[in-house]
């Protein structure tokens, strides 16, 4: 194992984060003739199947805070969130020209319709709207989902010109199991000692996983954990918060930094939920498609994009995280015009209010620039918890 220090690792991740030409992914593709890259949008796609096809799953999370959106605004009205317009901008400006296909998960109508825009504008690309079941019975939603996974497998197999065998998928499942395990270790580590693993660093580390092959990302996280442990960082008297609602369009990095600077250690979040969507290990024996389907149906995260069959269970995932992470409160940070997050929020809030768990709400866009109000709001929230035990 290398002996990179935290600074080097974070700089490496930051460079990947800032590179909206996706040079790392381009290099991966160019390294071996015939390689293919499949872009995917939040919140969940089964990357195992893409990986099993010998392709690189590339997380596309919009253009970020610094990209100037010129063309994208001609595609969307002002009252639609920013991620589709900056994603279109990435494509129109050729930054995704090396991407052979795009997957659009069933998260909301905007991302759903973006799949149609892709079909209209990029006719030579593989486009897959990826529907996941809202029925969680093995014999109903499970059968549907299994067939959708098989259809995805066949589509990628055709695109790649090679068969995707069950053994390939099992191997990829194992690789992603390992990756997920390491992601969870990083999250656990941060929760246990948030001053040693600042959220901005953890965020960049996870963002690197959107671009790097999973094997490389797993090694990077191992290195980070080892390096973070050797750092001598002082502990601040911050409160502990769970940040939720940011599962699709990402907040600007300064927002994450601002929250911690204002006195809120983020001890859990739902950024890039694809990394942690499946809650346990996916079995590597037997039918891999059935195993992926079963993991989705029975062992996956609860988010606004998923129907909760049992009203009593609504919010239980968030409450469990609050308990597990010993959080003092919750920050609902939702992108403006985000239907899933904003429609879900009143239900989540009611669960917190019933338990007198403090919370604040805020909205952002991926290019929000003014952090002073955020700092003030978060600072007041932290103070109210620390000084007066809010609410």
């Amino acid at each position: 194992m290398s002996t990179k220090n935290v600074k080097e690792i974070v700089e490496f991740c930051q460079a990947i984060f800032e590179d909206i030409n996706f040079t790392k992914a381009r290099e991966w593709k160019e390294a071996v003739p015939g390689r293919k890259v499949i872009g995917y949008m939040p919140v969940y796609v089964p990357r195992e199947i893409i990986h099993a096809a010998g392709m690189l799953p590339l997380g596309i999370l919009g253009g970020g805070a610094d990209m100037e959106v010129i063309h994208g605004d001609a595609y969307y009205q002002s009252y639609i969130c920013r991620i589709p317009r900056s994603t279109i901008e990435l494509a129109i400006t050729g930054r995704l020209d090396f991407v052979d296909g795009m997957m659009f998960p069933s998260i909301c109508d905007v991302i759903r319709n973006l799949s149609g825009i892709w079909q209209l504008l990029f006719k030579d690309k593989y486009v897959r709207y990826f529907d996941t079941p809202q029925n969680f019975d093995d014999n109903v939603g499970g059968i549907f989902y299994g067939n959708e996974l098989r259809e995805l497998k066949e589509g990628l197999s055709k695109l790649g010109g090679r068969e995707i065998r069950d053994a390939d998928i099992r191997r990829s499942i194992a690789i992603y199991n390992e990756n997920r395990l390491m992601v969870n270790k990083v999250y656990d580590y941060r929760s246990n000692a948030p001053w040693k693993a600042p959220s901005a660093e953890v965020y960049l580390l996870m963002r690197a996983g959107m671009v790097l092959p999973p094997e490389e990302h797993t090694r990077l996280m191992q290195e980070y954990l080892a390096a973070a442990e050797t750092e001598n960082r002082s502990r601040r008297d911050n409160c502990r918060v769970v940040l939720t609602g940011a599962f699709c369009e990402q907040p600007p990095l300064p927002l994450i930094k601002s929250l911690e600077m204002a006195g809120c250690y983020i001890v859990d979040d739902d950024f890039m939920l694809v990394n942690r969507w499946i809650l346990g290990e996916v079995s590597t024996s037997g039918d891999p498609i059935a195993n992926l389907a079963s993991a989705f149906l029975h062992h996956s995260a609860q988010t606004a994009a998923k129907y909760e069959v049992d009203m009593k269970e609504k919010g239980s995932y968030l409450l469990d995280i609050i308990r597990k992470r010993r959080a003092d409160g919750v920050i609902f940070a939702a992108p403006s015009f985000c239907d899933p997050a904003l429609l879900d929020q009143p239900m989540m809030v009611s669960r917190l209010e019933a338990l007198k768990i403090p919370y604040i709400t805020m909205q952002y866009a991926e290019n929000s620039g003014q952090m002073q109000p955020i700092r003030e709001q978060a600072g007041t929230f932290a103070d109210s918890i620390k000084l007066w035990g809010a609410p």
Binding site: C108, R112, N113, G116, P133, F144, M311, K314, D339, M347
Partner: protein
Amino acid sequence: MSKPEVVKSNSQIVQKEMIRRNYDKITSGRVKVSSTFVPGNLNELLMCFDIANNLPEINAIQNAMSKKSGEMITEAERSGHSEDVCTYVKADIGMMAKGNIAPNGKPFPSPDMLLLSYTGCFTFLKWFELLREQYKCPTVMLHVPYAADGHPTKNMRDYIVKQLREEVIPAMEKISGIKFDIDRLREYLRKSAKAEDDLVWMLEQSKRKPSPIDCYFGGVYYMGPIFTAFRGTDEAIDYYKLLRGEIEERIKLGLCAQTPEGEMPEEKYRLVVEGPPNWTSFRDFWQMFYEAGAVVVASSYTKVGGVYDYDNFRHDPDQPLESLAEYCLGVYTNRNLPTRVDMLARNVVEYEADGLLINSIKSCNSFSAGQLVIMREVEKLTGKPGAFIETDLVDPRYFSAANVKNRLESYFQMIDQKRRAGGSAALAA
């Protein structure tokens, strides 16, 4: 000065009466009630269990047209609902907070079930999760996959049928205490198909010049019975027969479309419209078209509940559950953008329209996301100019009459200019 009295046809009066009767039924306290959504609704199936069909979108529309929705939305926002989200949802939640009074003045009963037909709109899922918090009644999900490649697959159909068999029907049996009778369903579907034939005939009459009907503003009245609680009934068959008779008479007399202001004297512009109407200023909005001599010859909104005139769908009594699945899958907003473009472009060409007008709705991403691309693609395919206006469904804060009027006037000028030039005009309004 108050507006002159609205001119109404006999079919409009009958339609209004039908909707009123349904509200009386819902609020009677004598029947089981299910709330469900308009797109792809399962009215025939609900009828098999004597369950009345209450549609929250229709309630929001009724409240908007009687100028009540604004306060309801504000009420919902006060209780923590974001300004950014669907105003149908907020009007519904605000209505509950204000006593849950139906348009007939009687209180809505708590529904016996929420039939979450998740068809073509993500918000539906959250909407009924929110209502479930209030009503705490059984909630049945029917997940309709998105026809992302332009056509439903066998896997999608099978999934829906399986949900109907294993989840939806057993839940309805339990709630109603009535055993499912597939022959009863077949009979309702037979009646649906009969009314649907007349409905499609009606839609196609606007190919005539002048068009005897308006297929957007007028269309919402004509679609009322089929998209709400009457599909599968004799009443719907009778209604569409009556409507057909009226239209035949108008054709015979060579009349232009009827509007609330009276007969349109001259048809100057023929438009295809994409997107739902604004409901809070419905009559003012329509009047702008009337004054300009613009008639809408086809619209996507007359396909919002289900699409009959594109790929010839009819409910099929020989394939009852499969046919319901097909209906849900075929809903306009459940179709991918290339299909929507094709549908609209065909309408522009086949109905000899002057162009495509998009009424983009602030709080309806299902319709609105991608409409600018749709407009450009339809322009490319047809060579006809498109225009774009922005309003909202039921939030009066987002209807700017002056702005909409200006844009419409510019658009009509552009069409004139194009006619004079006999060629292409600048495309953007």
